[in-house]
């Protein structure tokens, strides 16, 4: 069964550094998403992406965050200058038609 693939599974970075989290969505999917889950808290929406542009974003998704689909297969989330509070599990998801989202295994980001 096709899967959403995320790399790396764990990322450790120093505060203030830039990180790029990578995702390979399921190949025929058109809608792409990033969610995050701070340990012990709810899963929160960050951003959705369709037709090469952001379709929705939450208030969490400020100017420090950006997304890109650079080559038609990868979908990346960049955090320009990481803060301690960015430490979380980041989930990528994709969907054919927004009715059913398939999530990846997540990237655990630790900001020191």
């Amino acid at each position: 069964e096709p899967e959403v693939t995320q790399t790396p599974s764990h990322q450790v970075t120093q505060m203030g550094q830039e990180v790029i989290l990578r995702c390979v969505p399921i190949s025929n999917h058109l809608y792409f998403y990033w969610y995050r889950q701070i340990l012990g808290q709810k899963v929160e929406f960050l951003v959705s992406f369709y037709n090469n542009e952001i379709s929705e974003k939450s208030e969490i998704f400020d100017d420090q965050f950006s997304v890109e689909r650079p080559d038609g297969s990868n979908f990346t989330l960049k955090i320009r200058s990481t803060k301690l509070e960015d430490s979380a599990m980041y989930f990528c998801a994709s969907s054919v038609n927004e009715k059913k989202l398939f999530f990846g295994s997540g990237t655990q980001l630790s900001v020191l």
């Binding site: 998403y33 899963v43 929705e56 927004e98 009715k99 059913k100 997540g106 655990q108």
Partner: protein
């Protein structure tokens, strides 16, 4: 804004028994989707079941079924013949059908323990 409430932070069930996880939500919309996601210790989010609000029939996927009560805004998950592999955090989620806010809104989760 929509909210999703899971009032049971933890539940346990004996292997082979049945357990029901509760979820309520608040919305002014008439059409929407509801989901249950399972998050095992690996922390991957796995879709368990989906319900479309315009459908009166409750969704079923093998041992998993829902009790969707639209007027009461209630969406409970029943797991029959519980197995050790069902042990996980279960999240209820809501999504609008129309409009600009179509992201998933999650509840706080219910940690399910399955006892051998």
């Amino acid at each position: 804004a929509q909210t999703v409430t899971q009032s049971q932070p933890e539940m346990s069930v004996q292997e082979a028994e049945t357990v029901t996880l509760s979820c309520t939500y608040d919305t002014s919309e008439s059409d929407y989707y509801l989901f249950w996601y399972k998050q095992p210790p690996s922390r991957q989010m796995i879709l368990v079941i989906r319900q479309e609000a315009y459908k009166q029939q409750n969704a079923t996927e093998n041992r998993f079924s829902v009790n969707f009560q639209k007027a009461a805004k209630s969406f409970s998950l029943k797991i029959s013949d519980s197995q050790l592999g069902d042990a996980a955090m279960y999240f209820c989620a809501y999504r609008s059908v129309s409009g600009s806010a179509r992201q998933l809104t999650f509840g706080s989760g219910t940690q399910l323990t399955v006892l051998p």
